[in-house]
């Protein structure tokens, strides 16, 4: 077992070394990025286009997970973990539950879309948005800095309990309120 692990390790290390020697670590990083981005984007497209809403929900989870991986890619390990837990777990389950509760009929056509006119209009709006935002992203002269190494979880914890302690508490209260609100909304005030 140990041998196997060390083999993989050496393979990976060796591969990395080889890649670095080939002068192409950027290429590999780019490949990983495109792979993850592809997962996220394609699942997102699936969310929008699937006819079965349960499929949509599953693909949404996939997209969330893709994004979570991208967080890790960005040296934000803790954020990635939170993404997996909150979105990939809780939110996805919540949505699926909601779907189950508000659907009775045929699941195959449970995610109806609007007519062509609306689709074209929506495409124009979304396309226009993509265009302007893309241009803004491409044309903006950002000054990039090298990654600052550090423990992301520790750094966040530090910030959260010092500089941003008030927003942190507010967010906690917000969550509490949201929870109570959701319960009351779902159950009805008179019953609760």
């Amino acid at each position: 077992m140990n041998d196997l692990l060390s083999l993989v390790h050496s393979l990976v290390n060796g591969g990395m070394d080889m890649a670095v020697e080939m002068g192409a670590p950027d290429l590999i990083l780019a490949g990983i990025f495109y792979a993850l981005a592809g997962v996220a984007v394609l699942s997102a497209v699936g969310v929008v286009l699937c006819r079965n809403v349960v499929h949509s929900a599953l693909l949404l989870t996939a997209s969330f997970i893709g994004t979570g991986c991208l967080y890790i890619y960005l040296d934000a390990d803790f954020m990635g973990a939170v993404q997996f837990l909150v979105y990939g777990g809780a939110v996805a389950i919540l949505i699926v539950m909601a779907l189950m509760l508000t659907r009775r009929d045929d699941m195959d056509h449970s995610n109806p879309s609007r007519g062509l006119f609306h689709q074209v209009g929506a495409a124009v709006v979304a396309g226009g948005f993509l265009l302007t935002m893309g241009l803004a992203a491409l044309l903006s002269p950002f000054r990039e800095a090298p990654a600052s190494p550090g423990d992301s979880a520790a750094g966040l914890a530090d910030l959260m309990l010092t500089k941003y302690v008030l927003p942190f508490e507010v967010a906690a209260i917000l969550l509490l309120i949201a929870m109570i609100g959701a319960i009351i909304l779902a159950k009805g005030a008179d019953e609760a």
Binding site: G121, A122, V125, G128, F129, T132, L135, L139, P141
Partner: protein, 632 residues
């Protein structure tokens, strides 16, 4: 004691005002108490007026040097509006006349209003009127005069409309107020111009400023000012063409007619011209206008009076005519004659009206003289008083009217022959219509169902006193030197021009004879005569259609124009407003397509906005970069 009266002259108008307040706030439901209060305060004010008269005579206070007391009423900017008292012989005479007549009329009213439930209100208004009139007489400046001028107008309105439940009284009151208001408009303009030209409205100050002003700048603007001022008297003193309200004013209770529309208020206009005579007499053009307006009014009203049938309306036109006389006298330059006639006229006209009141009350509100007849026997005292009044107004010597009218005729003769002839013709007509009134109502057969009885003592005694005054006031004034007392410019010579006097007396005699033959002996049929005169008769009987003319004017220029403007307001001014509203509504309908209640539409619109904003900021950034160049 006279000094006390003089220094407390301000109490003279305040006492009746107090009576008004007490009655108005307290006792108006109690007839007797109200009458007592009104008469007491009027009596006090009469005594004070007598005191002032005494002070003026004994001190003596002369026209050139009046006694003045004033206090600040309001100050605006650097203009001081004051109220106060100005006492000179003219004022003293007016105070005496007004308080006398007012007191007598109030006493008379106790009897006259005995059965009217609104008597308390009546006495309140009478007191208010007396206060206003006395305040007007005592005015120290144009502003005060205008203020009280308006107040007497108000009282006149209230009293004409005293029987407010009668439509005719209501309309007459309104007409009186609005007609005189037109005059007030001119007067107000004149007063404002006086203030702007001289910087003061005070009579005494103006009197001293005026000669220098005329010397320096001439009389151009002053003529306009004076003519504007004169519009006020035209309205208030019932001069042509604003005389229309005065005959209608007879809708009020008869004592009111006697007090306000014969003896006192209507002479306010004459008094104003007299008070500001320093201004008017300096402007020959204006004097001429005044003289002709007066002369014409006198004749015009007399021709109407000849054909009228209601008792009081004859007297009303006679009043207009006599006021014309007074104006004429002022216009030909004789303040003395005018004021003299003002005084005598106040007495005998009040007498005549009170007699009319007695008669009409006795006849149970029947006013047409041709339905009376033979009242001589039923009401002997009233008849005698009435006869004295008629003789006095006709100018029969030695009664009051003879002296004062003669003074006017003499003054007119000195200035202009046409005016003299007009005045003399008026005198003839006056004698004729007054004789007609007397003969028709009091002579002849008693009509079978005539209810007339002699009046009660409350009403009788004032008649007697006024009759006595009508007899003696002329001679007293003439021989006691009225002309040396109230005058403007050089002292007028006191003499009687026997040619002029003889002519007018002769004409009076002829008029009486004619009236006697027509209406008592029935030698000529009055009907025949009127038929022969045709158009002239109809013109006179219908008062030259002046009222109808005004109705047309009012309908066209006031009501129709008002309706047109209202249409404009509704459809153009408001139309624009509503149009704007509709436009906005339409616009919102178009914009509302973006908001059909569906969330997704809102989202789409929202993102369109986001896109536009982003594109805009990109554009700005691109332009900035283009300017900055390769800075990045």
């Amino acid at each position: 004691m006279f000094d006390f009266a003089l220094t407390h002259a301000w109490l003279i108008p305040l006492l009746p005002a107090l009576a008004f307040l007490i009655i108005g706030l307290g006792t108006r439901r109690d007839k007797d108490a109200s009458a007592k209060i009104a008469i007491t305060f009027s009596g006090l004010s009469f005594l004070l007026a007598l005191g002032v008269l005494g002070a003026v005579i004994t001190r003596p206070i002369v026209m050139a040097d009046p006694f003045v007391m004033k206090t600040l009423w309001a100050k605006v900017g650097d203009i001081e509006l004051s109220m106060g008292v100005l006492v000179d012989p003219l004022t003293a005479m007016m105070l005496f006349v007004v308080t006398t007549v007012a007191l007598l009329v109030q006493i008379y009213s106790v009897g006259y209003m005995a059965h009217d439930p609104g008597a308390g209100r009546f006495f309140a208004f009478l007191s208010l009127f007396a206060a206003s009139m006395l305040g007007l007489v005592l005015s120290v400046n144009f502003m005060q005069m205008y203020a009280f001028w308006e107040l007497v107008g108000l009282c006149s309105y209230l009293l004409i409309g005293f029987y407010y439940y009668k439509d005719s009284a209501r309309e007459a009151a309104k007409k009186a107020f609005i007609t005189t208001r037109i005059g007030d408009f001119g007067m107000l303009l004149g007063i404002l111009l006086v203030q702007l030209t001289f910087g003061t409205m005070d009579f005494v100050e103006l009197k001293t400023l005026l000669p220098t002003y005329i010397w320096e700048t001439g009389g151009g603007i002053l003529t306009i000012i004076a003519l504007l001022l004169f519009i006020g008297p035209i309205g208030k003193s019932g001069q042509f063409p604003l005389h229309v309200w005065l005959p209608d004013a007879m809708e009020g209770p008869t004592p009111v007619s006697a007090l306000i529309h014969a003896a006192t208020m209507v002479v306010a206009g004459v008094y104003l011209v007299g008070r500001a005579y320093f201004l008017f007499s300096a402007l020959p053009v204006v004097l001429e206008v005044i003289a002709w307006v007066g002369g014409f009014t006198a004749f015009f009203a007399a021709t109407i009076a000849v054909t009228q049938r209601p008792f009081k309306r004859i007297l009303a036109y006679s009043t207009i005519s006599q006021l014309g006389y007074m104006m004429l006298a002022l216009g030909v330059g004789s303040l003395t004659a005018s004021m003299f006639h003002l005084m005598t006229h106040a007495f005998f006209k009040a007498l005549l009206f009170l007699c009319a009141g007695a008669v009409i009350e006795a006849m149970h509100e029947e006013a047409d003289i041709f339905k009376m007849g033979g009242l001589r026997e039923r009401m002997p005292v009233t008849f005698r008083c009435m006869a004295i009044g008629v003789l006095a107004i006709a100018g029969v010597p030695p009664l009051a009217g003879f002296f004062s009218k003669d003074a006017i005729l003499a003054a007119a003769a000195e200035v202009s022959l046409p005016l003299y002839l007009l005045a003399t013709a008026t005198a003839f007509l006056t004698a004729f219509y007054m004789a007609r009134l007397l003969f028709v109502a009091f002579f002849g057969e008693v009509k079978p169902d005539c209810p007339a009885q002699e009046t009660n003592a409350w009403m009788r005694w004032p008649l007697v006193i006024l009759a006595a005054l009508s007899v003696v006031s002329g001679a007293w004034g003439h021989f006691a030197g009225f002309g040396e007392w109230i005058f403007y410019g050089p002292v007028g010579e006191e003499h009687i021009d026997w040619l002029i006097a003889g002519t007018s007396v002769a004409l009076t005699a002829v008029a009486f004879y004619l009236a006697y033959e027509i209406y008592v002996m029935k030698r000529w049929s009055a009907y025949e005569i009127s038929r022969r005169l045709g158009v002239l008769y109809r013109l006179s009987y219908n008062k030259y259609y002046v009222d109808e003319f005004y109705t047309v004017i009012r309908n066209t220029f006031v009501d129709k124009l008002g309706a047109v403007l209202y249409w404009f307001d509704l459809h153009v001014v408001d139309g624009v407003v509503n149009g704007l509203a509709r436009f906005t509504g339409g616009l919102s309908g178009v914009l509302g397509l973006a908001e059909n209640g569906q969330v997704q539409r809102y989202v789409a619109v929202f993102y369109c906005g986001v896109i536009a904003l982003t594109a805009y900021s990109l554009l700005i950034a691109a332009m900035l970069l283009a300017v900055v160049g390769g800075a990045f």
